[in-house]
Symmetry: C2
Subunit: 199 residues, 2 copies
DNA sequence: TTTTGTTGATTGATTGATCAATTAAAAATA
DNA sequence: TATTTTTAATTGATCAATCAATCAACAAAA
């Protein structure tokens, strides 16, 4: 029973948080979503905070699995970059409830060290993956800079999607990031070429 | 007394929210920051929600004033774009307490229509200002796309700053956005030139 | 019988909001 | 000016609601 209940409660927490747009959703509501009593949620997770942390872990685990799969399929460095971008814009990542949950977690990171560590670890891995691929396409400095830009763009587009007043679609958001990478690489290419011309 | 108290309470709310990283800060703590009793805060604002809304209004008002000043000083379209970017990266906008408050407000926008409307209005004005200037430098479609990119970049860099695990400085963040604009405009220029060559 | 799963009832703490009471300031009146 | 009256400012005390957490009790399975 235990693994079943744990999964059901984690899924229920994500759903409840998404619906509510806040981590301040009562344990009772989460438990109701999972079809159990509030007492049982405490029995298995000990505290609300622990359940929330497990919920974030579950989100990140899924994201990582998707990323690994996408990266394995990609053959060239440029394709790897696109794969990373694509994973972050996957449909279920952009589902309103998921976006709402992410936003709530980011906000919570300001108070909880544990949550901050989790999000930080994810951010580092994302950057690391991006830099590794970009290094084949640009110098170390440019790779780091572009990686930071891509990560910020993804976060920003995510945030704006969360406001629902989104002026652009998911596909357009993804295209915007792709375009950023292309423009930056092209600009670097041009700089490089002009330097050779000058020399 | 009334205007004095209102201002003191709004400032106190911003500070308390920033310190706490959440809108869930008790009215009593906000009142304490302002040196008055909790009852007085209710007396002047009626409810906690109203005080929070006035607090956001105050933030947006300041930002708008800064933007107007910066835009007035800028002479060329490109300088206007830089001015808008610069204002958003002003030191006091990046103060930890301000970033924390912004994040909390974004999260709150998912629940409160009033808050969402306020943030949406600000986002629309930012976009409008950007597009107006960019139209002098690129076509309508490109202008809209680049404006969205700039806005998303600003939001994303802001978000990442909020996690404190910021790998890059404020100046570097600002430079990154500037570079995005330059790269996009250069890419457009290149596309345009090659088309002429082909023709 | 022992272990595991499960819940209803309850508790203790937090907190937004209210209100009667108090003080201080201002206005009106003598 | 002095006195009374009215208005504004302010607070301590308290209420009512919410909620995480606990626990004793019960059911089911091993």
């Amino acid at each position: 029973m235990e693994p079943l209940r744990r999964k059901a409660l984690v899924d229920a927490a994500l759903r409840a948080i998404g619906e509510n747009g806040s981590l301040a959703v009562p344990m009772a509501e989460i438990a109701r979503h999972a079809g159990v009593s509030p007492a049982l949620a405490h029995h298995y997770f000990g505290s609300k905070e622990q359940l929330l942390i497990e919920t974030i872990r579950s989100l990140l685990r899924q994201l990582r699995a998707d990323a690994v799969a996408a990266l394995t399929a990609a053959q060239t460095p440029r394709a790897r970059v696109s794969a990373i971008i694509r994973v972050n814009f996957q449909a279920h990542q952009f589902a309103p409830e998921t976006v709402a949950a992410w936003l709530a977690f980011y906000s919570e990171a300001q108070r909880s060290d544990a949550v901050r560590r989790l999000l930080f670890t994810y951010a580092r891995r994302l950057r690391s993956n991006l830099v590794a691929s970009l290094k084949h396409l640009a110098g170390t400095d440019d790779a780091a800079r572009i990686a930071e830009g891509v990560a910020a763009l993804i976060d920003g587009l995510y945030l704006r999607q969360g406001l629902k007043s989104a002026p652009i679609s998911i596909a357009a958001s993804q295209a915007l990031v792709e375009d950023y990478v292309s423009a930056e690489l092209a600009q670097r290419q041009a700089r490089h070429t002009s330097q050779e011309t000058q020399a």
